[in-house]
Amino acid sequence: MALKHIDEYRDAALSRPLIDKINRISRTPARLMEVCGTHTVSIFRSGIRSMLPDTVSLLSGPGCPVCVTDQKEIDAFIALARLDDVIVTTFGDLMRVPGTLSSLQKEKADGGDIRIVYSTTDAVEIARKNPEKQVVFLGVGFETTAPTIAASISTARRLGLDNYSVYSAHKLVPPALDALMANPQAQIAGFILPGHVSVVIGLDAYRPFFETHRIPCVVAGFEPVDLLQALAMLVEQIEGGAPALANAYGRAVTAEGNPIARKLLDEIFEPADVAWRGIGVIPQSGLKIREAFSDMDAEKIFDIQLPESRDPKGCACGEVLTGTKTPPECPLYKTICTPIDPVGPCMVSTEGTCAAYYKYYDDR
C-alpha cells in the first residue's frame, strides 16, 4: 500500500523504536481494529499503516458517530427540522449526511432553522433567548459526547426552561465490541480501544467484554507514538499468547473513568436496544432519556411523520463499519461516491473510513 508523507514520518525519533519493535516481533497474521474515528484519521494521516509488517493489518471499526447513526434517526432529525417554530441545533458533522429523502443541509437551504453549535451550552443558550420557539438538540455520539448532552438537559431543568429538548441517538462502545465479535467474517485479533470514550467510562468498563472474549485490548491516545505504543502492546500480547486489557493512554485514562460524567449519564439516560447503521439492533447499546426527563425527550414530545427509511442504494457502509469490506471494495467508491458528492455517511464525515481512504490512501 502506498501512502503519502511516509518519509517525514520515518524520521520521528520517538516512534522509530516502536516501529522497529513491531516489525521485529510480529509473526502471526493479525487483523487489529480501531473503534474511534479520531484514531482512524490519525492512523491515516501519519502513515502508520505502511510502517507495519505485512502480518499486521488495521481495520477501521464503527467509531465515527455520524456513520453509525441509523437511517431512521437521520430521517427523524430531518422531520424535526421541518416542524414550524422549531430550532434544530446540532454539531456540524450531521449536516451533509443523506437521509432517505433529504439532508439537514438541504432543509437549511430550504429555510429550516438549523443551527450548528460548538457545544450543548450554546444550544441551551439559544433556548433561553428564544422562549417562543422549541429548541431541539440532535444527540449523536458515544460516551465522550453523551455526558455533555446530559449536562445540557440537567442545566435546562435547573434554569426551568420548557422549550429545550434532546433527540437521543447516542451509542455505547462496549456493546458494539460484543456485536463485532459475533461476526466471524471480520476475524478481529485485537482492539485499539478509543481514547476519550475511555476517559469517561474508564478501563474497567471493558472488563466484562474482555473476560468474555479474552482478546487483546489496548486503550490508545491520539498521537502517532500513542497509537504505535498500543500496536506494539497488542502485537506483544498476540505473540506471547497472553491477551490482556491494557492502557497505553495512562496520562488521561483511569480504571474508573470520570465519576461525575458517569453519574450524570446514569441520572439522565438509561441503556436501550438500538439500531446501528449496517449492523442492526445491538442489545443495550444506546442511551434513551429516562422517564423523569421525558418532557425534554424530543422523541416523545414531537409527533413526526417518517418516510419509509431506506439506506443509500449500493452503499457498503455497513460492511465497512464492521471491518468486512474496505472502501475500495465498494463499487461506488471514487466513482459515484466522493467527498464532494457523498453517497453514504462514511464518505461524508471527516472521520468516516471512506473519507479517510479517499484523502490519504493512494491506490494508483
Binding site: Y9, A12, C36, V66, T121, T145, T148, S349, E351
Partner: protein
C-alpha cells in the same frame, strides 16, 4: 473529532472556564470536573472539560503533538472539535 491537546484553565466564572489552548482562549463548561481550579490542565471535548491531567503529562502531550505536527499533514492539532464521538 477528539481534541487531544491539553488546555489550561486561566479563569473560572459561574461554572464556565476560560481555557488557553496553545495561546488561543476559549470558554468551556466545567460541570463535569471535580473541583476545577485556575491553573489546572484539562482535556476538553465539545466545549466541556472532561479530565484533569497533571502538568508533566500535559507537557509530555504537548511535546508529542509538536512532534506529530512536524511530520503529519492536515489541520493543526488545535482545530475545534467538530465531530461527535
Amino acid at each position: 473529532m477528539c481534541l487531544a491537546i491539553p488546555s489550561k484553565i486561566v479563569k473560572i466564572e459561574t461554572g464556565m472556564g476560560t481555557i488557553d489552548v496553545d495561546g488561543v482562549q476559549r470558554t468551556c463548561s466545567l460541570l463535569l470536573l471535580d473541583n476545577p481550579q485556575v491553573g489546572d490542565w484539562v482535556i476538553v471535548h465539545a466545549g466541556f472539560a472532561l479530565h484533569k491531567i497533571d502538568e508533566t503529562a500535559a507537557m509530555e502531550t504537548l511535546r508529542l503533538l509538536k512532534e506529530a505536527a512536524a511530520f503529519a499533514e492536515g489541520p493543526p492539532p488545535d482545530e475545534p472539535p467538530h465531530e461527535t464521538d
